[in-house]
Symmetry: C2
Subunit: 297 residues, 2 copies
C-alpha cells in the first residue's frame, strides 16, 4: 500500500469540537440547538441508527428528541406534524429517518420542512442555494466528502475531479460544491461509456454508487485522491459479513495518493456534518428572528 | 463550412405554435396565462427588450403587462409588489428585467417570487427541482440550449458533453439538465487548466462565457455539436458593430457537425422557452388551486 489512509474519525472529532463550542455560544444567547428526529413504523435498523445519532448529538451538546409515529399515520397527518415543528422556535432542525412506509413519499416530506430547519440539506431550495454558491445547508454526505478532500494538501482551483454516481443527494451536490471551489468536474454514471477514461484523468475521484469493487487501481491516476462514499454489506468466503465501499481497496490503495477507508472514512464525517448543519441552522434562525423582530430597521 | 447550421428561429417557431395551442386550452378553462414584467428605472435598452418580449408573448396568445417602477423604489416596496403579484391568481408569471439599480439585489427579488410563478426559473427551489429531475421551471437560456441539442440526431444517453462556463443560471443548469438526460458531463471554467483537453473529447460542446472567439475549431472533435450561448457586441475593422457568440464561427464551422449561429441560434429559442414556462406555470397553478379547493379528495 502506498496511499495515505484518510482518518475520517479524526476529521469528525475536530468538527464535533467546533460544533460543541458553537452550540455552547448559541445556548448562552438563548438558542440552544435542538433537533427532532421523525421515524415512522417499527424499523429496528433505523432505531439503532437513530440511537447513535442521538448519542453523537448529545455528546456535542445538542438536544435531540427522537419521535416515532405509527406506520398507519397518513401523509396529511405527518405533514401537519412538520408544520407544527416548522412553526416552533424551540425546534431548530428536523431529521426524516428512512425507510418510510410506501404511502409516505420522502420527497414530499423533505419539501414540507422549512428550508431554515432542513439540517439534512434535502429541500430543493437547499440544493438550489448550493448551486447559487450561497452559504446553505448542504446534503450531509456530499458536504462530508468535500470536507474530507479539503483536508488534503491539494489546490482545488483547477483540480480535475471525477464524480462517479449522479444521485441527487450525493453525486450531483458534490459536483456543484467542487465547481464552486474552482475544480473542473466530470460526472460519470451508469450510462457513461468509459468511466475509466474520465477517472484516470482525474486528480481526485469521488465514488458513490453502491457497488463493491466498482473502482479498481487501474482506473486511477497514480497519486490521485480517492474518496469512497459507498457503504455495502458483503459476505466473505468464510461466511462472515463485512462492510466495504465502492472501491477495491487493495488495488486502489496501491495507486492512489490518499484513500478513505470504509468504515471510518466518510461515515463519521457525515454524522459530524449533520451536527454542524444543526448549529448553522440554529444560527440562521436566530438571525432571521432578530431581523424580523428588530425594533430599529 | 462543413457544419450544418442549426436554425434557432425554426425551432422557436415550432415551440411557439405549441405554446399558442396550450394557452388557448388554458384560456378555455378560465386560466388565460398572464405575465407581469417588472422593470425599475429608466433603462432604454431594457425597454426595447421588454417591448419585444411583449410582442412575442402576445403573438403566442399570452397576456403581458409591462410595469415600470421609479429608480427610487425601495427593496421593501418592490418586495411588497411581488407579494401582491404572488397572491393574485390572475398573475401567472413574473419577470424581473435587468439591469436593476444597485440598491435592489436581483437574487433577493428572485427568491421573493413564488416558485410556481417563477417563469424565468431563477428561484433556488426551481434550480433545486431541476437537480432533483422534477418537472419544473428551468432557467430559460439553459433550457433553450438543451432543447436545441435535443433536436439533433444524437443519442444523449452516454453522450460526452463539455460545458464551458459555470454560471448559476446557464452553465450549471445545462450540466444538470444534460446529466438528467443521461449524458456524461464535464464543466469547464476560467480555472480549468486546459479547456481544449475536455472540449476535444466531447460529442457536444456548450459555451456560455461571454468572450468572442473563445472556442476555435481546433478545440473541437470533428463532427461535434457546438451550441454557442454567448452574445457579444464587437466592432469590426470598418467600424461597424456586429453581434457574435463565443465561438470563432469560421474555424468552428469547418470542424463541427452542427453549429448554432449568433444571432438566430439560442436567442430565439430562449424567448420561446420563457413563453413555454409561462404556460407550464399557469398549468401548475391551475392544478395547485384545483387540489387546494377540491370538494372531494
Amino acid at each position: 500500500m502506498t496511499a495515505t489512509l484518510i482518518d475520517g474519525k479524526a476529521i469528525a472529532a475536530r468538527m464535533v469540537e467546533e460544533v460543541r463550542a458553537d452550540a455552547a455560544a448559541l445556548a448562552e444567547r438563548g438558542w440552544a440547538p435542538r433537533l427532532v428526529s421523525i421515524s415512522v413504523g417499527d424499523v429496528a435498523a433505523a432505531e439503532l441508527y437513530v440511537r447513535n445519532q442521538q448519542k453523537s448529538a448529545e455528546a456535542a451538546g445538542l438536544q435531540f428528541e427522537a419521535r416515532n409515529y405509527p406506520a398507519e399515520i397518513s401523509l396529511e397527518q405527518l405533514t401537519g406534524v412538520l408544520m407544527g415543528l416548522n412553526a416552533d422556535p424551540r425546534v431548530n432542525g428536523i431529521i426524516i429517518q428512512r425507510p418510510l412506509p410506501a404511502h409516505i413519499p420522502v420527497k414530499t416530506l423533505q419539501k414540507a420542512i422549512h428550508p431554515l430547519k432542513d439540517v439534512e440539506g434535502m429541500h430543493p431550495a437547499s440544493i438550489g442555494n448550493i448551486v447559487y454558491n450561497d452559504l446553505a445547508l448542504g446534503p450531509c454526505t456530499a458536504v462530508a466528502a468535500v470536507e474530507i478532500l479539503k483536508t488534503l494538501p491539494l489546490n482545488i482551483q483547477g483540480l480535475d475531479v471525477c464524480v462517479i454516481g449522479h444521485s441527487e443527494i450525493v453525486g450531483k451536490p458534490i459536483a456543484f460544491l467542487m465547481m464552486g471551489l474552482g475544480a473542473t468536474v466530470t460526472v460519470c454514471h451508469h450510462m457513461t461509456r468509459q468511466v475509466a477514461v474520465h477517472s484516470r484523468a482525474a486528480d481526485a475521484v469521488f465514488v458513490a454508487v453502491g457497488k463493491p469493487g466498482l473502482v479498481t487501481g487501474e482506473m486511477l491516476k497514480p497519486g490521485a485522491a480517492l474518496i469512497d462514499i459507498g457503504i455495502n454489506r458483503i459476505t466473505d468466503a468464510d461466511g462472515k459479513g463485512r462492510t466495504v465501499g465502492d472501491a477495491d481497496f487493495d488495488s486502489c490503495s496501491k495507486v492512489a495518493g490518499w484513500i478513505t477507508p470504509v468504515p471510518g472514512g466518510v461515515g463519521p464525517v457525515t454524522v459530524a456534518t449533520l451536527l454542524k448543519n444543526a448549529v448553522l441552522a440554529t444560527r440562521m434562525q436566530m438571525d432571521h428572528y432578530s431581523a424580523a423582530f428588530a425594533v430599529e430597521r
